[in-house]
Subunit: 684 residues, 2 copies
């Protein structure tokens, strides 16, 4: 049951698909307040949702703001990251979901001001509120996801391993990465190109010195099973003679100042304009630009800096320089020195600058701050809609940094500029189920950490979680320690853990596709799978991956194991990565366990009576193309037999729903395996 | 056994007491490298030490630099905090301690570059190396501590609760804090005054508007059992007519530029000079300044900004303004905008500025960077030596932000500008035993967190650890959410947990004094107490407090308990703080446990056969003066009886070693208690 109530005159975000819902006069659970809502929480109530944000799976105990922000310092003190995910579930005395469909700032005070009060504040009284009742937590998510539409589905190769760095500076550096991967038997499907592949940071250009024959190079890489994934930035460089700039100006496709002239900000290339992603014509035009790279053989992209990130607004920069001139003549004490440095630090991503520019939307001219959270969403929509036009039968990989519910139909996300901190392994785990609820199934963190210097053990442990994320990408910032896995000592462990990912792909892909096609969750909190288990409700460092697996990665430095809570009797699967993924299994009873996990091991847990379809022969796999999704071995603890609905398709085209993609696999009590389609072989 | 070897011509840091040690030709364990030492680690080797630093008790897996740094963002990516603690213990294949007695930069690469290599790099080949062998980890610490001299002992009231804020702006605000504490039955012994009590941030002044009759006000507070603890900053304001400035200039007591003129930097008051703390005359002069506050009834201080913190060096500031003028005329792209903002951000605490100024030491003129880590140490030594002259028979409280081994003889530390992050509860726990090893027994974190906004549950959980630290102080930054405990909802829980601290004081004080007097550890890692227990070696979130207690505080948001490892059968002591500290005890077997701990509870564990002397009648206690240290009740799980060496003294004077301060308390197998001195009563 979904209740909808409209307040004021909402901007149509197109987050919700269709408009079939009746309006309600009154809404249950929440109490209306002048500026939003409140809800009195009981001590046992848990709050789920809000997508990509700091802190726990249970969002209780902090305050969050939906306000897409370019902030690369994901400490516990932050209230906003890159996206806006206004969906939340209250679980406890009452259990219900709610969604605030509003494109500006929304604040979720989850027991921050008062321990027992949930308080939602919306910047303006122009929004739709949806309240969702359901039979269970998963049912509430299912209904919400039906409301907002089917999640993005990437090509199958995008479930392979991707290596990134800011930046691989030229063809030879990319070749070297690939050669090292291959030489070390570490599978790889993609090399990601950060901003330096472009000619002076101009979107849809390629630097002619660094990548002189880009189409040839893309083909050369593809012949080795490697996809190049270039970055696209939100902002367009101001430069005479640059076609994207000139077309945008000529057609009025850029965001404007109040007086109608194009708004000038500074980003990577210096002075830029922002394409007006909320103007349908401009969006179509921007999307069409991707063709220049598609035509060179590119099949995947990442959209960045689309909160939008602003190094400076030109207007603010000028005022700042004028003020600095004054400071240069003073005795700078605590207040004036603080004002001076604060002014400079405050040049970037200053919220006040969102009030300086405008969009021409189909609902009229809108000041940016009032629709701020739609920018990255609509940049990625620009790409997604263009791919639909340009390559109607082919899946193109796209993931974005900024997002908003609605964007999940067009692309995935990576979780932005994290750090090489142990706490960020756990943060990445916390984000997974929260993003899944909101429809963002294709997601993953920068494995090894983007900022700060990494360590070998951190990267290895991070892969212990990362191999279960749909997006598996190692990425790091300019100036930090190199962290490609072949650079470290335990090469056998890194090769093994990456091979393990590929062995798991039949399951990971199948579970992903079922979640996407049926509006389900690929990754969920324990409480969703074991709703009657009071302890499971409190577990913050284990999640379910698909229907069969519980994962409990190690995320502490120098740890040689960890505590694991099992809600029921489960099969412990211990994989010795450094020894060709030798697998040992044993049955563990429900309850608390200390599980030893050495640095070169991955341990996960299987539900009784469930199956895990694995690929065979890990050693020969170099990329997803080498994985035989039709020749499986089954892992199970199923004394009474078990069955599994296996999804498999070509991974390239879009006829997702064909019945022949669904294969019924069974294991009977005697250990005999069976598949209901001749195309898929299984053995025990 | 201590080995000493001298390299080059060391600067005498006076970290080591006496010079009785023979020089060794060769040293064991470490391999000499051109720029330091290396050691090949086995997987099971653990590295202890390095005092106040980020990450775990086991320092393995990261790189640390001894380089006192004013850095208020204690994330995992940092290599230096405020102090320099060059003592480390290797525990594993070999077990030994080592100390690098050098006042400049020392790098400890603890398996960062190579997982299995410990690599120590010293900036110059002018230092003393000490290697310490012992029978046990505690014996190694004991020998090291004998080498560097007895730890600082504060007055007994300094073990009471302190409330701080940047800043309580005037007398009435302080009165209000005290009144609120008293009204809510929350005990309090000190209110800490941050920088705004001074007249325009001038050391040893008091603002006449805000605190018009400071001596009277100090007396008024003292009559209520409250000590005022003002801050003293390292730098002296440049201002004609300000006596400290004028005396310093006249006598040449400030650090100088290469040309001999006083070095100018900017700190709170704007332009300042740094007193030359390494010049014995200047140090004595600076120490004598504390008299102006002692004379007004002040008995405690905190020394801040003594790394020294530098907002800007005047020379660098001028160059920066000139360069900004040039930037103001350019298209600021990634490199020039980054250079501009980086230049401004790099004004503060810029390592290169340490090369701009000089000290006149008794060993000659020294450029600051070569003796950098001695500055805070010698500022606190200035105070400590002055107190010895001015108040020879009285203990004065002093704690510092910057430190270096050697300073532990003169004062304690607080652990600097942490944040209101859950991870910083655990970080505070990690620092405790590491600081204890280095002689810093009197220490504690800013409870509730200095930076960022706090939450009620965070503050309450933080007290769950903080009540076991010798220094118990709630402190927070200007502009952050107020966090005095009486401002939150669960007043009974806050009152209870603070009362619990006072109930524990007979034990805490006794254990502290024994550790200080016998060069022992007040707080130690589990591995030190249970050296034969392989699992205990890996435990990073429990520590021993004194001989009887194991603590395992909750440090995760929304947690209602935690896993606890008990190396042996222990008595679980569950305290319901919100219900007048109702205590329940039960015996738990050795091994792994999940221990429920509600938000209003504190749970700790007692070793079998040990005693815990507690104060009686928590409800009437308002300050340390109300605690009767001579009328105790004993808590124990001692079926075969137990004995305890109880230390008690007046807490004010310095005749620490008198035999009558040591009381032998016994509990026999029948539950009869006995004290060998009539002055101390005990009951079971």
């Amino acid at each position: 049951m979904i209740y909808k109530k409209q307040y004021g005159q909402p901007f149509d975000t197109e987050s919700v698909v269709g408009s079939f819902l009746p309006m309600m006069e009154t809404i249950p659970y929440l109490t209306k307040e002048p500026d939003g809502f409140s809800y009195a929480m009981e001590p046992q109530d848990i709050l789920y949702g809000l997508g990509e944000n700091v802190r726990g799976i249970n969002k209780r105990g902090w305050v969050y703001e939906s306000k897409c922000s370019d902030d690369g310092n994901h400490t516990e003190g932050k209230s906003s990251l890159y996206g806006a995910y206004n969906f939340m579930i209250v679980s406890g005395k009452d259990t219900f979901g709610f969604f605030i469909d509003y494109p500006g700032k929304v604040t979720f005070d989850c027991g921050y001001t008062d321990l027992d009060t949930l308080r939602i504040t919306v910047a303006e009284e122009n929004y739709d509120l949806y309240i969702i009742e359901g039979e269970s937590l998963t049912d509430i998510v299912h209904q919400f996801r039906q409301l907002v539409g089917r999640s993005y589905i990437p090509p199958k190769w995008a479930f392979g391993n991707a290596q990134s760095r800011w930046s691989y500076m030229n063809e030879d550096e990319v070749r070297e990465v690939v050669a090292n991967y291959r030489a070390n038997h570490m599978p790889l499907d993609a090399v990601v190109l950060d901003i330096d592949y472009m000619e002076r940071y101009k979107d849809f250009t390629v630097d002619a010195q660094r990548f002189p024959r880009f189409a040839d190079f893309a083909a050369e890489m593809k012949a080795q099973g490697i996809h190049l994934v270039p970055i696209i930035d939100a902002a367009v460089k101001v430069e005479e003679g640059y076609d994207v700039y000139e077309e945008g100006v000529k057609n009025g496709y850029f965001c404007t100042n109040q007086d109608g002239t194009p708004f000038v900000a500074g980003v990577w290339p210096g002075r830029v304009h922002f394409p007006d992603m909320l103007n349908p014509e401009a969006r179509a035009w921007f999307g069409s630009q991707y063709k220049v790279l598609l035509d060179q053989g590119i099949e995947g992209f990442w959209n960045d800096m689309n909160e939008p990130a602003i190094f400076y607004a030109e207007e603010r920069l000028k005022k700042t320089f004028a003020q600095i001139e004054k400071y240069s003549k003073q005795n700078l004490d605590i207040s004036s020195f603080g004002a001076f440095t604060g002014m400079v630090a405050g040049l970037s991503n200053n919220e006040n600058d969102y009030k300086l520019f405008y969009h021409n939307t189909k609902q009229g001219r809108m000041r940016h701050d009032k629709v701020h959270n739609l920018f990255g969403y609509n940049m990625t929509r620009a790409a997604g809609e263009a791919f639909e036009r340009l390559e109607p039968d082919k899946r193109i990989l796209i993931y974005s940094r900024s997002a908003c519910i609605g964007m999940h139909r067009y692309g995935g996300i990576w979780t932005g500029d994290n750090h090489s901190w142990w706490s960020h392994i756990l943060l990445a785990l916390h984000m997974m189920p929260s993003l899944n609820m909101c429809g963002f199934l294709y997601e993953g963190p920068d494995i090894g950490g983007f900022g700060s210097n990494t360590t070998e053990d951190l990267v290895l442990r991070w892969y212990g979680l990362g191999i279960f994320s749909p997006l598996l990408r190692n990425h790091s910032a300019n100036g930090t320690r190199r962290q490609e896995p072949y650079r470290f000592k335990n090469k056998a462990a890194f090769a093994g853990i990456l091979q393990l990912r590929y062995l798991l792909l039949p399951y990971i892909y199948s579970e992903y596709m079922k979640a996407a096609l049926h509006n389900g969750m690929y990754c969920m909190p324990l409480a969703f799978a074991f709703p009657g288990d009071d302890f499971a409700r409190r577990v913050e460092d284990e999640v379910m991956i698909g229907e069969s697996l519980l994962i409990a990665p190690v995320y502490e430095q120098n740890a040689r194991g960890r505590y694991v809570y099992l809600p029921e009797e489960m099969l412990q699967v211990r994989v010795k990565c450094s020894e060709s993924n030798r697998i040992e299994t044993s049955v563990l009873p429900a309850g608390h366990h200390y599980i030893p996990v050495e640095l070169d091991e991955v341990v996960f847990f299987m539900r009784k009576g469930h199956l895990l379809p694995l690929a065979k022969d890990g050693k020969k796999i170099q990329s997803v193309a080498d994985v035989d999704f039709a020749d499986l071995r089954l892992l199970a603890y199923a004394p009474d037999g078990a069955s599994y609905e296996y999804y498999t398709d070509d991974g390239e085209t879009k006829d997702y729903d064909k019945p022949e993609h669904f294969v019924h696999i069974t294991l009977d009590a005697d250990g005999n395996t069976k598949s209901d389609r001749a195309t898929v072989k299984v053995e025990g």
